[in-house]
Subunit: 191 residues, 2 copies
């Protein structure tokens, strides 16, 4: 590893947000998973939570998750378990979910410790996860089709979170614990 | 067609933005094309311009474009031709392109007549299109990977355009010419 490369890893680590997370609740198409993970890296998500689908897609999801490198992934049995884990770490859980109680995504304060929950491609956020989330957020739509692609919806909301966190200076000083810094640097430097 | 369905089509048409367009300059993966078109529908793009790749992907792109319904598509030989066509209709051409001259995407006024140009999955915006565009815009990135998925980048910028246009009331009154309204309604009602 060149000194420059090591500097680059450290600089990126110094921008990682331990209190901004994503829960993929049953998302199963590999290209969507890849796009979500790539966006997580770009906005500084340290850790991604995946509730694995309970069907044939399970192994595909595992493979798709295994091939990525810059975001730590934790697997969960289902959405509820992932939500409980997020809340235990002090995060508010926002479900990206068009419901009666949903608020427009730009009205939320993403500088608060936050996990964004995404639903599956076909059926969206299921009733159990919707009930377990703290709030629902939606992205207004002006057209005929009634939802965005899931990786697109994730990106629109995470881009707003990123903008708010930039404005608040949350990328300007390292926010990781010593253990988080050390463990993640080790993983990145020794793949 | 039920009266309710017809009302829905008219209401959506009344939100269409004839002066907000997208140029896909060589984008060729079907799932990316599908996601871009879906996002275009959701933010009210009336017309999408596709510069077809000059290789084996050409037919795949044609097929992917043919299967969508709510956004009018114009095909072009290359990016330059698409840019010329956009400019002829009075649109500023913004290339989503990370260059020395690029400005952060949130600093741009998207209530102006605008076409957003997107580059290919592998090599991005080529030199000719970059030179022909009026401005370059970029989305800040905090991670290790050096670009977003193209449909994700499109969505992040178009969501900002949508937000600005909502705030400016551009979705509150019909903005189509009589001919645009008539022709598009005919196409939508008689697929
Ligand atoms: C393709 S959508 C699911 C569509 C499903 N038919 C439904 O009714 O929920 C996949 C996921 O993307 C997210 N999503 C898509 N469009 C959204 C929007 N306009 N607002 C908030 N989240 C959205 C949600 O997390 C959703 O579960
Ligand atoms: C996967 S990227 C192309 C990456 C290519 N290696 C390059 O260097 O340009 C595909 C397209 O998405 C858009 N894009 C991706 N990330 C972007 C960003 N951070 N800012 C602006 N546009 C971006 C651009 O239009 C780009 O041409």
């Amino acid at each position: 590893m060149t000194p420059e490369r090591l500097r680059r890893l450290r600089a990126t680590l110094a921008r990682r947000q331990p209190d901004l997370s994503v829960i993929m609740d049953g998302v199963h198409k590999p290209h969507n998973i890849a796009a979500v993970v790539r966006t997580c890296d770009a906005v500084g998500v340290l850790e991604l939570h995946a509730a694995l689908p309970n069907n044939r897609a399970r192994d595909t999801v595992r493979t798709a998750l295994g091939s990525q490198r810059w975001v730590n992934v934790r697997e969960h049995h289902d959405g509820e378990e992932a939500i409980r884990a997020a809340r235990k770490r002090g995060l508010q859980v926002l479900a990206a979910h068009w419901s009666d109680q949903a608020v427009p995504y730009r009205e939320v304060d993403y500088t608060q410790p936050t996990a964004l929950l995404l639903g599956t491609e076909r059926t969206g956020v299921d009733a159990t996860s919707a009930a377990a989330a703290d709030r629902h957020v939606f992205i207004p739509m002006m057209g005929m089709v009634s939802s965005f692609n899931v990786s697109v919806a994730a990106a629109i909301i995470l881009a707003e979170a990123c903008e708010q966190r930039r404005a608040a200076g949350l990328y300007d000083r390292s926010r990781l614990s010593e253990a988080q810094h050390r463990d993640t640097l080790f993983k990145w430097a020794h793949p």
